[in-house]
């Protein structure tokens, strides 16, 4: 029983980080209809940027804020350099460009930081687990989860209550109508990329704290894809729920199924679940079904 509860808590907490990365994915899809396959690399870059700032002697929380700032800049740059010229081109071309970007970023990251695994040194979070009642949670997970949730809340509030957030949602809904009101599509895309970069970057930094940072953090970004699809490609609450579900499945799979299917159950659980789930709910949890009026 205790093992079960522990597994669940850990799952939910890792899920929080996945949700953060998933948010970036959803945003770009929502605003421009593009599935950004470079998302894993955005996560990777975020992890390394935080690491570098931290190693330069900044406190971790400042390093995270720095990563957010760098994320904004890189997001805007990406949009301007790679994607601005593609507005109005077929979606598939844009998706292919993101594949290209993913290779490019991977190369740049290896060029700058090399391919050895790096760990935050000194460790950011204490190695002693925190005890809540009879539950023992390692503090990395707990703090990562809290930080993720805070950031998610900030982003959600941004969409709901600020004019920029609303214009982004409006553009996702009906681009031409938004344009007719003076919403600048370029700005909306750039903002979507900036926020995606920020959320994925911090997600990467947190994941890096758990496992150390090397190129495989980028694959974790790809692992978030089932979370996104599960939640419904264009739903922010869906991304959050999807992230947590994936975190849970991974940990449950790892704890209980690994003994029967040793190897990679943890990694394929999310994908298998996604495939089955989509049979029954093809739009995901809260994806947009077209509102049809009869």
């Amino acid at each position: 029983m205790e093992l079960f509860l522990m597994t669940i808590t850990t799952g939910i907490m890792v899920g929080g980080i996945y949700a953060l990365v998933a948010l970036g994915w959803v945003l770009i899809y929502k605003c421009s209809g593009v599935l950004n396959l470079a998302m894993g690399e955005l996560t990777l870059i975020g992890a390394y940027v935080t690491y570098s700032l931290y190693e330069a002697g900044l406190p971790f929380i400042v390093a995270v804020l720095g990563t957010l700032a760098v994320g904004i800049v890189l997001g805007f740059l990406c949009e301007r350099i790679f994607l601005d010229k593609l507005i109005g081109e077929p979606i598939l071309s844009v998706i292919m460009v993101t594949v290209g970007m993913s290779f490019f970023f991977k190369g740049v990251v290896q060029f700058i930081w090399g391919s050895d695994t790096r760990v935050f040194d000194p460790p950011v979070f204490s190695l002693h687990p925190i005890e809540i009642g009879f539950l023992r949670v390692s503090s990395v997970y707990l703090w990562s989860f809290i930080l993720s949730i805070v950031l998610l809340l900030i982003f959600v509030a941004f969409f709901k209550y600020t004019r920029w957030g609303l214009s982004m949602q409006a553009t996702a809904d009906d681009e031409t109508a938004a344009l007719s009101l003076g919403v600048s599509a370029r700005f909306v895309y750039a903002a979507a990329w900036a926020i995606a970069f920020m959320s994925a970057g911090v997600g990467g930094a947190l994941l890096g704290n758990i496992n150390g940072i090397n190129i495989s953090v980028g694959y974790l970004g790809l692992l978030v894809l089932p979370a996104v699809v599960l939640g419904g490609l264009n739903s922010v609450p869906g991304a959050i729920a999807g992230g947590i579900i994936i975190g849970l499945l991974q940990n449950l799979g790892g704890t209980y199924l690994d003994q029967y299917f040793p190897g990679g159950v943890k990694e394929i659980m999310p994908f298998a679940f996604m495939a089955v789930f989509l049979l029954f709910k093809p739009y995901g949890l809260w994806g947009w079904e077209r509102i049809e009026r009869v």
């Binding site: 609303l166 009906d174 009101l181 509102i291």
Partner: protein
């Protein structure tokens, strides 16, 4: 027409899609400040394209003004970005009630206000609710799920939130019940009178349009074929025949007599 200052002057524009398809072949229209002008014409005459040329939305459809000029308040705008044109006070209400379906009615309105100063958003909302009291009741409902008339009101209200000087209305009556059409047109006339907003109205329903607008243009296959005071236009034999569905005697037309294809329009030479 010449005596009043005009807010918008379209001077003999030509519009091409994809650099080859010539859609407008010399269209000239003038909208007086704080006036209403109607633009009539059948399907495919180029009315919506004319509006998109003004608002700059042509760009998203790979269309371009290749000749002529559009002058708005002394500024040439036919090569500007849609976002800039909207900032200067032109807003187009696209046909087909394009609400942001997944936002609430009030959020829809707020998107319209995204260029306003923060403090004045509330004022704007109050103004919209003053003209469209029904929207106040529906403010927190999802816009995709309110009735067609309310969606049309939302769309017009949203345009109003941008503090426009010139509204381009594309077929506000489409697919609405007669009573609602009446209501919406009343409000539009009121907006014009009380807020001094200029309106360029595109309509298929010619009778309605000629009632609301004192001056009208008639378009056919990419050209302006006629323009005059609405009174004179509604007396014109061809307009009566082709747009108002009346015979020479002013009675309802019997479909037995209709032989469209034999009768030649007098403006075609």
């Amino acid at each position: 027409m010449d005596t009043v200052e005009s807010i918008l002057k379209i001077n003999n524009i030509e519009v091409k899609y994809h650099e080859v398809i010539l859609v407008l072949k010399g269209v000239s229209i003038e909208v007086p400040r704080a006036g209403i002008v109607a633009l009539l014409g059948a399907n495919g005459a180029g009315k919506s394209t004319t509006l998109k040329a003004i608002s700059g939305l042509l760009g998203t459809e790979d269309g371009e003004v290749t000749d002529g000029a559009i002058e708005y308040e002394g500024r040439l705008i036919h090569h500007e970005r849609a976002a800039n044109i909207a900032r200067w006070g032109i807003v187009q209400v696209i046909e087909g009630r394009r609400v942001f379906e997944h936002l609430t009615v009030e959020e829809n309105l707020k998107v319209g206000a995204h260029l306003r100063k923060t403090g004045s958003v509330k004022e704007g909302l109050e103004l919209v609710y003053h003209y469209f009291p029904r929207l106040r009741q529906k403010r927190n409902e999802t816009a995709g799920l309110v009735s067609g008339g309310e969606q049309q009101m939302t769309v017009v209200g949203r345009a109003l939130m941008t503090e426009p000087k010139l509204v381009l209305l594309d077929e506000p009556s489409m697919g609405l019940a007669p009573m609602l059409i009446h209501e919406i047109f009343n409000i539009i006339t009121k907006l014009n009178k009380e807020e001094h907003i200029s309106i360029l109205l595109v309509e298929q329903n010619a009778k309605l349009a000629l009632n609301v607008a004192p001056y009208a243009y008639v378009m056919e296959t990419g050209r302006i074929v006629m323009d005059d005071n609405s009174e004179k236009l509604s007396q014109n034999e061809d307009i009566k025949d082709f747009y108002l569905g009346l015979t020479d005697k002013g009675g309802k037309k019997s479909f037995r007599d209709v032989k469209h294809y034999k009768r030649r329009k007098r403006w075609l030479s």
